[in-house]
Each structure stands twice: as structure tokens, then as C-alpha cells.
């Protein structure tokens, strides 16, 4: 594969992310499925004239979307999501079709956060959020130990600099 640079960042995100994204995707699919099911069960019977077909199309679209969102996309995402935290910069690569690679100099980092939802917490994962004065970047689904370790590392490396702002 020809990306911008032959040398991709080396670190990958935690493979447990696959499970978390799978379950998250399924749950999202179930919630979405609610709409066509309500249509098929309730609305269609109230207005006799409406055909079944729209409900089934809805179910089909959601099924496809869920397969994509819960199974295929996470595989691709985890394949391309790489990062490197070096002494003077953070290098992140991500994407599914459009692969983006971002370089953040350490002295531009304003603050680092970790955050996690209930599902992520169940799998012991957390998202690392890195903010500069102008932009926001994430490294999702790192193991909790890893993310707090990285957070400490970045915070130590990112010197506060007033010189340009």
C-alpha cells in the first residue's frame, strides 16, 4: 500500500476496540431498527394505504449499515489507525478510504484528556484527546493503562510555551 510515507507510525490501537465497536454498532443498529419496525407494526395499520415495502427497505438499509458499521469499518479502521508519540511530536494516522496523517509538534500541545463511555470502560479502554490551540485530535480505544501512561508522557513532554501566542 502506498501511503504518503512508507514508514507508517508503529503503535497500533488496542485490538479489544474491535469488540467494543462491534457491540456499539449492534446497539446502534437496534436503536435505528426501531424506526422501520414501528412503521411496520403501527403506522402502516393506522393508514391502510401505506405499503409494506418502505418498512422492509428501511430494515434492509439498516441491516447493511450495521454490518458495515459493526464489522467491516472497525476492521479497516483498526488496520489503518496508527500513532507514534516521539519526544518532539505526535504522529497519528487514521481513516478508512481517505487516510489522513497528522503531525502535531509537542510544543503546540495545550492539553491532553482521556475520556471513555460505559462500553469503552467495560472493555478497559479509553480515548486520548490531544488539543492544540487550534485543533483537536483523538487516539481512540487505548487500554486504560496505556492511555494514562501516554497522557503523563505527553504532559511531561509538552512544554508550555507563550512565545507565539
Amino acid at each position: 500500500m502506498k501511503t504518503l510515507l512508507a514508514n507508517e507510525p508503529s503503535e497500533r490501537i488496542d485490538p479489544r476496540a474491535l469488540k467494543a465497536w462491534f457491540i456499539g454498532g449492534i446497539l446502534k443498529g437496534l436503536v435505528l431498527l426501531f424506526v422501520p419496525v414501528v412503521y411496520l407494526v403501527l403506522i402502516k395499520d393506522i393508514f391502510r394505504s401505506l405499503p409494506d415495502i418502505w418498512g422492509w427497505i428501511g430494515v434492509g438499509v439498516i441491516a447493511f449499515y450495521t454490518i458495515w458499521d459493526a464489522i467491516i469499518a472497525p476492521q479497516l479502521r483498526i488496520r489503518f489507525w496508527r500513532y507514534d508519540i516521539r519526544e518532539d511530536e505526535i504522529d497519528i494516522q487514521h481513516g478508512i478510504f481517505i487516510i489522513r496523517r497528522t503531525l502535531i509538534p509537542m510544543i503546540r500541545v495545550q492539553h491532553v484528556d482521556t475520556e471513555y463511555g460505559p462500553l469503552m470502560r467495560y472493555f478497559g479502554l479509553a480515548t486520548l484527546r490531544i488539543s492544540t490551540a487550534a485543533t483537536d485530535h483523538r487516539i481512540p480505544a487505548l487500554s486504560k493503562e496505556k492511555s494514562s501512561q501516554l497522557m503523563g508522557e505527553i504532559a511531561a513532554l509538552a512544554r508550555v510555551s507563550d512565545e507565539d501566542v
Partner: protein
């Protein structure tokens, strides 16, 4: 020390404040009168108009009190402000925290040689600024030079040293910071700037909208007369419409040029050491000072109407402050001939340079640029084919093609020691100059098709007033993208 005296503003503030409060009161009162006008004779109300004297006096008294209680003093690097009758408010501003000091004068103020001083500190939002409504002009200048001088420049030199040790290339900077230069925009240029600003389009839509409301009230004999005078032996409505539109267009263009000239008359930019002082205006004069290292990027904009004449404008992205005046704050020069650009930058902003040569996007990028614009045009055109006269939408294809082609021609990048330069076009063409130490992050992205032909989009983010700002050049040769990447990462 004289500096530490406790001072009050110029008494003109009393009048300004009173008038302002009074004017603010009028619309609700007027609306109230409108709502009851059906029940009461208007003349009966008018005979009671003297009642307005009561609030006027009250506002005047209140403003006097406010003026009396508003005191300020400056000493030892702080500006102290005290105000309030019931809720006392005190504020101390450290001068290192001051971002900009703006001075402006209205017409009334200018007669009395009084100015409004606005002091902005880091942080944004309403609480971050202090406004002295009316102080003597010389006092305003004194406040500004006080807040921008002394210990601050001392701390700045230490800053300089620290950056020098980290970057290792500061030797030429020292001589550069000694510069003083100024540039006054000639009136002819301001006229040209107004004439090519393209603002008349907006004004035209306003005037046309107003006119369409007004049109039915124009007596018919006038329009008839107009037609007879202008186009004898013809009574087609279309011609009338065309004539009206044309004259409205010319009118709005003239008005916008005039407004522009009044607004930007005497545009002066003055560089003194690490500060830029910019002032402009005929009736309302504005002036603001900007520390050079707050400029995050320079963008040279060649407007659609300006490019054919070889004209451009210089804007800047500025970090922090200037929320309300943002539109003006970013203008470094409203109009310049492209051939004067290099000289202008050399004198006023020698930190930035127009690169001698830029690397254009490769030829294989051309079809991607064309595909983008023409593809979108086709998506718009296809459904229109269902409508009558839908084929007329096909005329969109040509501008789309030209736009794509000229975007391809504009796309270019360049790097030198410290500066990254992008050239690109949306509608206007831009050349953006950025310093390495102002770029917050660099991103390159590519879709599978771009990867197959070794192209990628490259974008940078810089800090700018409301939030960040991103500039990007699409379909850059991978080798070039790699060079930029190395340049940014190479520490």
C-alpha cells in the same frame, strides 16, 4: 510619580453616556406609543413630549455619577480601574497580559480631541476588555505607550533569547526588529480597492430589495417618461427592467465605492520594532496596534475582480482578541499592486517573504481538479433536465470547467528555512504564508484514487481569532508532500 495619579475620564464621557442611554430608551417608548396610538390622539401625546426631559435629566445625572466613580490609574506595570456605586468593581490589568490597545475617535470626539481606548487582554469574551470611553488624545497615546513599553519589552528580549537557543537561528532577527517603516495607501489605491471590492453585489441586493418594495409607489407617468426619454418608440417592459437594474447596479457600485473610501481613507500602516500600528478612517478614525508575533499567517488575496488588474489585498490571521472588530483587525493592506508586494513585505513585515518559485501541483492532478468542479456541476445539472428550460443549466459546465482548470493552475506549495507557503484558489486566489512555529498541526490525506497516482492533500491549521483556521492545497505530488512533512517534523 505622576504615573500613579488617580485619573478620571474626559467629561465628554458624561454626554456620550447620557445620549447613548437616552437613544437606547427611545425605541421601546416609540413602540409603546405606536401600540396605543389607536386609542389616543397623536397630538395629545406630542403635547406631553416635554416629559422626556425627566429621563434625559436622570440619565445625565446617572452618567455624571458614573463618570465621577470611574477612576483609573497606572503604576508598576498595572492598570487599575475602579467603578460602580452599589456594586464596587475593581480591576487590575497586568500589562504583560495586554494583547492590543485600540484607539478610535468619532466625529464629536475629534472636535474635542478626545478618543476611546479599548484595551484587550488575552482570553476573549466581554470581560476580557476594558474600555475608556473618552480620554484626551495625548492621554490615550500615553496609556498605550505605557501598556506597550517598559518591562514588557524587557521580557520580550528574554523571550527572544530563549527562542534563539531553541531554534538556533535568531541572528538576523535582531537587526530586523530594529526596523521602523510606514506605508500610506494613496487615495487612488483606496478608490481602486473600493471599485474592485465586489461589495457592491451585496449592496445591490439590498437596494434592489428596497426598490422592489418602493416601486409600486412611483407614479406611472415618471416611469413612462423615463422610457420615452431613454428608449423612444418602445414600450417593452423587459427593457425597463434592464434599465432599472443597470442603473441600480451603477448606483450601488458608486455608493459602495464612496462608503469604502470614507471608511478606509488615510489607511496607514506603521511598523515599529515588534509592533504594527494600523490606522484608517475619515469620519470615524480607528487605530490599532498589533504585536508581530501575534500574526499567525499572512494571506494574500487576489479577488476575482482584482486579479485581472494585478491587484491584491493582504490579510492576516491573528491570535486572540479582536472579536468585534475582527473584520478590520485582519486587514494589513486593503489594496496593493502585485509587483509592489515584495517591497511592501520587505519594509513592513520582513519576517515573511514571497517565495521566488513555487512547486505547482503535477500535471496528473489536473483531471482530479476538473473532475471535482465539473462533477459537482453535472450532479446539479442532471435533475434540472426534468424541468422546462432545464437545458439552460448546461451553461454551468463552462464556468465549472474554467474554475477547475484555474484551481489546478493555482495549486502550489513552497518551503524555505522557516516559512511554508500555499497557493490555492476557492473563488479568489490566495497565497498563504506561514511560519513553522505558528503551524499548530500538519495533515496529509489521500483517497484510494489519489494514492494510486501518488497525490495527496496537504493542510495546516493555525490559530486564529474565533477558532482555528485550516488552509489546504489539494492533489500535491507525494514527493512534495513528503518534503513538507520532513520540513515540519525535522527538529
Amino acid at each position: 510619580m505622576k504615573m500613579s495619579d488617580i485619573k478620571r475620564q474626559h467629561p465628554l464621557m458624561i454626554i456620550m453616556e447620557a445620549v447613548r442611554s437616552f437613544v437606547y430608551m427611545l425605541p421601546p417608548v416609540f413602540l409603546f406609543l405606536l401600540s396605543i396610538s389607536e386609542d389616543i390622539e397623536l397630538s395629545a401625546v406630542l403635547s406631553y413630549i416635554w416629559i422626556l426631559v425627566i429621563p434625559a435629566v436622570a440619565f445625565f445625572a446617572l452618567s455624571t455619577l458614573r463618570w465621577y466613580l470611574y477612576t483609573y490609574s497606572y503604576e508598576e506595570g498595572y492598570l487599575h480601574i475602579k467603578r460602580g456605586l452599589v456594586f464596587k468593581k475593581e480591576r487590575s490589568l497586568k500589562k504583560e497580559r495586554v494583547q492590543t490597545v485600540n484607539i478610535r475617535t468619532g466625529l464629536l470626539q475629534r472636535l474635542l480631541d478626545v478618543a476611546t481606548v479599548r484595551i484587550e487582554t488575552a482570553g476573549g469574551g466581554m470581560e476580557s476588555e476594558v474600555i475608556l470611553k473618552a480620554v484626551k488624545m495625548e492621554e490615550a497615546q500615553r496609556i498605550r505607550s505605557y501598556l506597550e513599553s517598559g518591562p514588557k519589552s524587557k521580557s520580550y528580549t528574554t523571550d527572544e533569547e530563549s527562542t534563539k537557543t531553541t531554534s538556533g537561528t535568531g541572528s538576523e532577527h535582531d537587526t530586523e526588529y530594529g526596523i521602523t517603516a510606514s506605508y500610506v495607501l494613496p487615495m487612488r489605491e483606496i478608490f481602486l480597492a473600493g471599485a474592485t471590492s465586489g461589495r457592491f453585489m451585496l449592496l445591490f441586493s439590498f437596494i434592489a430589495a428596497a426598490f422592489s418594495q418602493f416601486y409600486p409607489y412611483i407614479p406611472e407617468y415618471i416611469t413612462d417618461l423615463l422610457i420615452e426619454q431613454l428608449i423612444p418608440e418602445s414600450s417593452t417592459d423587459i427593457l425597463l427592467v434592464v434599465i432599472i437594474l443597470l442603473s441600480l447596479l451603477i448606483l450601488s457600485w458608486l455608493v459602495s465605492v464612496l462608503a469604502y473610501m470614507v471608511k478606509y481613507a488615510n489607511f496607514t500602516i506603521h511598523r515599529q520594532h515588534e509592533y504594527l500600528k494600523i490606522s484608517w478612517g475619515l469620519i470615524e478614525q480607528k487605530e490599532f496596534t498589533l504585536k508581530i508575533n501575534r500574526i499567525q499567517a499572512l494571506s494574500i488575496q487576489e479577488g476575482l475582480f482584482r486579479q485581472p488588474f494585478g491587484l491584491c489585498a493582504i490579510n492576516s490571521e491573528v491570535a486572540g482578541g479582536g472579536l468585534r472588530d475582527q473584520e478590520y483587525v485582519t486587514i494589513i493592506c486593503p489594496l496593493l499592486h502585485k509587483r509592489e508586494l515584495a517591497t511592501f513585505l520587505e519594509q513592513i513585515l520582513p519576517e515573511y517573504k514571497i517565495p521566488a518559485s513555487m512547486t505547482s501541483v503535477p500535471r496528473r492532478a489536473r483531471k482530479r481538479y476538473l473532475f471535482r468542479t465539473v462533477g459537482i456541476a453535472i450532479i446539479i445539472i442532471l435533475p434540472l433536465q426534468l424541468l422546462p428550460y432545464g437545458w439552460m443549466a448546461l451553461f454551468l459546465l463552462l464556468p465549472a470547467f474554467i474554475l477547475g482548470l484555474s484551481r489546478y493552475r493555482a495549486g502550489a506549495t513552497s518551503i524555505d528555512d522557516k516559512q511554508l507557503t500555499f497557493r490555492f484558489r476557492n473563488i479568489n486566489r490566495y497565497i498563504v504564508l506561514m511560519m513553522k512555529n505558528h503551524i499548530q498541526s500538519l495533515e496529509s490525506g489521500s483517497n484510494p484514487f489519489q494514492r494510486r497516482s501518488d497525490l495527496s492533500n496537504i493542510s495546516t491549521s493555525v490559530l486564529s481569532s474565533p477558532s482555528g483556521k485550516t488552509f489546504h492545497v489539494d492533489n500535491v505530488d507525494d514527493r512534495e508532500a513528503k518534503k513538507i512533512w520532513k520540513w515540519f517534523s525535522g527538529n
